[in-house]
Amino acid sequence: MKARALASLAVASMVLAGCGILPASPQPAPSTYLPEPSPSEGDTPGALSPDGFTAAQRMTVRVRNIGCGFLSTGSGFALDAHTLVTNRHVVENAATVEVSTYDGRIIQAKAASTTTVADIAIVSTEQSLGAAFAVRAAADPVRGDVITVVGYPNGGRLTTASGVVLGASADPLGGAVGPVLASSVSIAPGSSGSPAFNEKGEVVGVIYAKNFSNQSFLVPISTLNTLLTEKSLLVPATDSCTT
């Protein structure tokens, strides 16, 4: 009897074990084999503009300084809808400051603030500058980083130029408190105030000078970030025609 029970148990175990290796029925077929549409680059905010211009081109503006008996031009870029950054020397001695956008709109500047810490001016406007604004990098670029500068050299067409960061340097004009950055980007008068972008499209500096070796100099983004945090470092610019 004992042997028979053991045999039955063994047979039952084998049957149960055998059930485990039996093939199963197929799963029900999916209703469709078509994949869900993935978001295209155009669906992400800021990836493409409605008119084909890049965000860098749309945020970069041409600055016209109409002084008392003189006229000069520079570049700048929008921080938000009513604030732009340019160089102090671009808006210096201005009676009127006008801003032109990439698509030809003219916007009057309302007020300007400058600082002695660096060649930076913050200009506010009544009208909106547009919908593309600068994303400021958290850290300064380092030697060898590729940068792209968008601006209006010689007061002409909106132009893009690339180069690399050559490293930190003392201010060749001697006005800046901290170090500035030298780069190999070729610029011209009128490029002053142009934003310099890294490969991620973040602003890493503001062009303000060049030397005879065709090297350009940037106010590093860390300086601009400090100025925007410490508002007390900015003072209102005065109208030169009243002085």
């Binding site: 093939p23 029925s25 197929p26 077929a29 084909g52």
Partner: protein
């Protein structure tokens, strides 16, 4: 075979160990067990075969569905590829048109900026010219008053009896101061015009 020999026959009641009792198996029971076992095995095999048959049929149907879906998807892919090729052609054309449009926008924007610069510069020149014109009118008036004063002085000198020498000298001094102012104003105007 002496008297001391042990007997050859052991009494039946002197048994040293018992013989185990083994039950005799009935051949009928064995056959019954075998039959039942075989029946169970056959039933199990029939069940297994039925299950495998069903599974096989289902896989076959699944396979047929997949083949049909593959043909359908293949047809869709071919159609989509043709559509993509067509759209790529359109995209290339539109990209070229967009690049041309962007170029035009930038060129027009630049032209507008230059015109605005010219207009602003012209306005500056108009302002400067207006300022210089006003300055010139002032100078002209001052020079006219100077000339008029000198004419009067010449008249007084030609008729010295009407005025005392002191009066004529005072008048000459005031005319001289007036003319000096006029000369200074003209000099300022000349400097302004040469800037």
């Amino acid at each position: 075979m002496g008297g001391t020999d042990e007997p050859d026959v052991v009494p039946s009641d002197v048994v040293t160990e018992s013989i185990p009792v083994v039950p005799v198996r009935s051949p009928l029971r064995a056959w019954r067990f075998a039959t039942v076992s075989l029946a169970v095995v056959v039933l199990f095999a029939i069940g297994l075969i039925a299950y495998l048959w069903t599974v096989s049929v289902r896989w076959q149907e699944h396979d047929d569905d997949l083949v049909a879906s593959n043909y359908e998807l293949g047809a869709q892919i071919a159609k989509q590829q043709a559509e993509i090729a067509k759209l790529e052609d359109s995209n290339s054309l539109l990209t070229e048109q967009l690049a041309a449009s962007k170029d035009s926008v930038l060129a027009l924007s630049n032209e507008k900026a230059q015109w605005d610069d010219d207009a602003a510069f012209a306005q500056l020149q108009v302002t400067t010219a207006t300022k210089q014109l006003n300055q010139a009118i002032t100078v002209s008036n001052q020079l006219a008053r100077c000339a008029e004063g000198q004419d009067q002085l010449v008249g007084y000198l030609n008729e010295p009896g009407d005025f005392t020498t002191q009066q004529i000298a005072d008048f000459a001094t005031s005319v001289d101061a007036l003319c000096q102012e006029a000369r200074q104003a003209k000099q300022d105007l000349d400097e302004s015009l040469t800037q």
